[in-house]
Structure formats: C-alpha cells, structure tokens
Amino acid sequence: MIYDIEYETMPREAMEAIQFRRLRSTLDRVCATVPFYRKKFQEAGITPGDIRSLEDLRKVPFTTKQDLRDNYPFGMFAVPMDNVVRIHASSGTTGQPTVVGYTARDVNTWAVLMARSLAAGGAGRGDIIHNAYGYGLFTGGLGVHYGAEKMGASVIPVSGGNTKRQIIIMKDFGPTIITATPSYTLHLAEVAEEMGVSFKDLKFRFGIFGAEPWSEKMREEIEKKLGLTAVDIYGLSEVIGPGVAIECYEAKKGLHIAEDHFIPEIIHPETGEVLPYGESGELVFTSITKEAFPVIRYRTRDITSINPEPCICGRTLVRMEKVSGRSDDMLIIRGVNVFPSQIESVLMEMEGVEPHYQLLVDREGNLDNLTVMVEVGEDIFSDRVKPLQELEKNISKNIKETIGVSAKVKLVEPKTIARSEGKAVRVIDNRKI
C-alpha cells in the first residue's frame, strides 16, 4: 500500500519544483539562524540567493560528522530550545555523541515518513507490529513506534533484548509485522527454535529490517527461516532517523528515498565531485523540511548508488541501492556504530596500555562478535596471571560503558599486530555480509 499517494507518486517535474522551493527556504533559514552555516556560506563566497536551481546545490560546502561534533551539543539547532520537543543522540568518538533535535512538526514529519515506510514494507491498519529496535537515545525504536501509531497499526514496544520474553510475546500476541536489526532477527529465530517455537506457526507476514548492512543472502535466510517477506529500511539520526529510505515489498530492489524531504546526491568520496545516477559513491543528504536540525549536504559516509528508473510499486521516488560499505572506518556491530578511534581512546585512557590494538569482527551464528586485541607492553605485563585477566576485564568493561558494545579482549604479544607500510591494520572484518 502507498501511504502518501500524492508525494510518493509525484511526477519528477513537480517533485523538483517542490524540492527547489523547500531547499531555498531551508538555505535562507539556516544562514539566518545557524552561525555554522552562515560562516560556511561566507567562506565559500556564496549566499542562499546564488542557489538558483537544484544543480546549484553543488556550490554549497559539505557538512561532516566532525562539524556536528564541533558544535556539540546544540550548536547546529536552527530553532530556539523552546521549540525543541525531542532530543536524540548517537554514540560518537571520544565519548562525544552527535545530538539531534526535533520540533513538534519534525516529530510529525518523521512519523509520516515511518508510516510511509511501514506501508511500503507491507504494514497497514489492523497489523500488530513487534518493534524490537532499541528504545532510547537511538532513533530506531521511537521512530518505528511513532510511524506505527500514525498509520493506525498496533505497536508492541518490546525494544531490544530479553529474547525469551520476546518469543513468548510473539506466540501470545500474534504480531504480524516485525521490525528489528537483521542480525537480532536471526538471533530471535535461533532462540525460538531452542524454545521449540517455529516461526512458521507465528503470524508474521512482513519484516522491516535495518540499522546495519545486510546482504541478499541474509534476506533469503530470514525469509526462509521466518516465513515472511523482508524489506530493507534506511535512515540515520543526523538526517531524521529511520524512514529516510524504504524498500517496497513489491520490488525489493532498492530503497525509495523520501525526496520531498531529503535531496540525495552521490559524490566521489575523495574529490567531492557529484556523480551521475547509477554510479557508486558516497551518499549525501540535504534536508529540506526539517526545522530543529536541518542538515545541508551532510556526508553520510555510506556507499551506494541511485537508480531513477520507475518502480513496479508505482512510487516515483528514486531508489538507492542497498548500502554496500563505508567511506570511513566505521563498523556496525549489532546495530551499534563503532569507530576504531573510539576503542583507541578507551585504551589510551587506561594507564600503561599502549595504543597497539586490532579489532577483529566475526559473525558467530547470526550475532556479531567484536574481539579487541591489545599488545602487552612492559608497563602492563605481570608475572601473575590475575592482573592480566583483570586488565582484560577492565578494558572490556570500559568499552562496554563508553561505546555500548560487548567486546572480548585478547592480550597479544608485542608486534604481532600486522603493520603494513608502517601503518597498523586496525580492523579485520571476517563477516560475510
């Protein structure tokens, strides 16, 4: 079902006219209210008035995650705090998160986008949505929640974790839609099997999965194991949260971008040059309706391409291909964004620990496992085993507390971490995604 026929099936020309109008007013507003953008425009020697077409957007400088950090916590907000009704945050390096705010209208926009997404993924009124995305600062849980209520579906705010109880709820409440990270979904399937519950006997028809990269092979596995149709959802808190782009269950071939709210561009990650449709590069978003936290040419670091061809579902919104990687070193582990530099700063804060480390990511069963290998120098070495084991435990605890990810710490001999051309190889990702 198409939730928002007018916008989701709008002819290209009408869409571009709306985009341009909204873009201009957004640029006017950010230059008037956000010192960061005003300065950026001044430095580039342009004013919002110089942007006379959608193509002119490429004259505007990019915004990066570092810019958001530099303006921590509320420096990028374009409205007074009086008008901010919601604050979310994502984990960031050196413990400094990226903070995003929403006005009441933004919350509504987001709910509409999520309602569209749920509808594109097969949900409607009368459906019961088992929402296993985490509730809290992370945008996943509340994003789905508001969208579900907006469309009039019933939502079970089960959040992440407590897997056995989730299985019992699935059995007893009979949800028809599941929303979760793909890896947690497979974990749910495993636990259900152990409990003697077959997903085939449950009532699920559709699943809407995202917050981490997953492959077509994983889709097949989920669809087979859970007996449902699985679609991909994309979003990031800096842009609005989940609902920025959604796959339709009819085609399951690329994610329709909500172009009436966000202008997508694909750029060359090194030169910044805008690439044509079909070419693979870094995805960049400009929000054109957001009030509290507009982003202008925000570099997502996600690698994908855009396909403008018409879709069998009837939507005219362009489609982005499933995200195939990152243009930085960010890892997504069990749905949590992790930068190697975050692990490094945890290690550096511990006395005697040298910043010689390597991250090993594996997928055991369907769950990601992070192992942090730390070289043992003389400062932390002991002839006794206990202090070394305690050190492993403390590093692991600090990582969990700072980044929110469970990691196994393994002490290794000095110089065992491969150094290529003087530069250490920080990450070995053995996951087959």
Partner: protein, 143 residues
C-alpha cells in the same frame, strides 16, 4: 636474599615456548627452573636462568615482553610434611603465596622451592625467624 626471576608473555599459539627456549639456547643461557601459567588466551612463562640480564636482552630483542620479579628460593625438607610446615607458618602470619614451583636441583637432601609471595619482605623475615634456609640468588643461579 632474593632470587631474580624473569617472566615472559606468551600468546597461546603453537611454537611460542619453543621460540623462547631457542632464543635462550642461542644466547648460551641455561634455564635453571621454569613454570608456565596459562589461560585460554595467553600464558606467562616464569624462568630462573644463569644470567638474567643476558636472557632479558635476548628475549626483548626478539620482540617478547619481559618482566622481572623478586622471588624467594627456600630449602624444603624432602620428607612428608616438609612443605606443609612452611606453608603453615606463612598462612598463620597472613603471607600469601601467589604461585610456586620446584627448582631442578636439590640442595643436599633438601628440595628447593621457588615462591612468589604477595609480600616478599615479610615472607623472608618470617622464614628467617623460623630458621628456614633461604638460598640467595648468586648461589642459586650456579647451583
């Protein structure tokens, strides 16, 4: 009255212990006693050798992390209750043994045990008060 012990960090993978012994052998160092503590991931090799400095240097040059610790070598009567008596004295004075292992050679009729205490000085005082024979490093390395 100390004995100097060196310790080496080893990853739990094949050939690491052999590598240590090879390096020591090539440096002409004789191992007098050793003990290996291991966990699922790593091991700590403790060694008493005839030349600590040479051994440390050789191992460090090969990239190993090497530590130095003071331990105590005690003559233990080679008869039932010999060790028990010593441990009893220590226990009553709240001196704890972190780990211990046996020395290769005997001293006369007595066995020689290497002790790592949580409080080395207190342990030495206690052992001396109780007339137990402690073997000094200089004597032990060449035993």
């Amino acid at each position: 009255m100390h004995v100097e012990q060196i310790s080496v960090f080893l990853e739990n993978k094949s050939g690491r212990l052999a590598m240590v012994t090879k390096i020591l052998s090539e440096a002409g160092i004789n191992i007098r006693a050793l003990a290996l503590a291991d966990t699922s991931d790593f091991g700590v090799l403790r060694l008493i050798v005839d030349s600590n400095e040479k051994a440390r240097e050789a191992l460090k040059n090969s990239g190993f992390t090497v530590g130095k610790t003071n331990v105590v070598a005690v003559e233990v009567p080679d008869k039932p209750g010999g060790l028990c008596n010593i441990l009893d004295i220590l226990h009553k004075s709240h001196v704890n043994v972190e780990y211990m292992y046996a020395f290769v050679r005997q001293s006369g009729d007595n066995a020689v045990m290497i002790f790592r205490f949580d409080n080395t000085e207190a342990a030495i005082r206690l052992l001396e008060q109780n007339k137990l024979s402690i073997i000094d490093g200089s004597r032990l390395y060449s035993m």
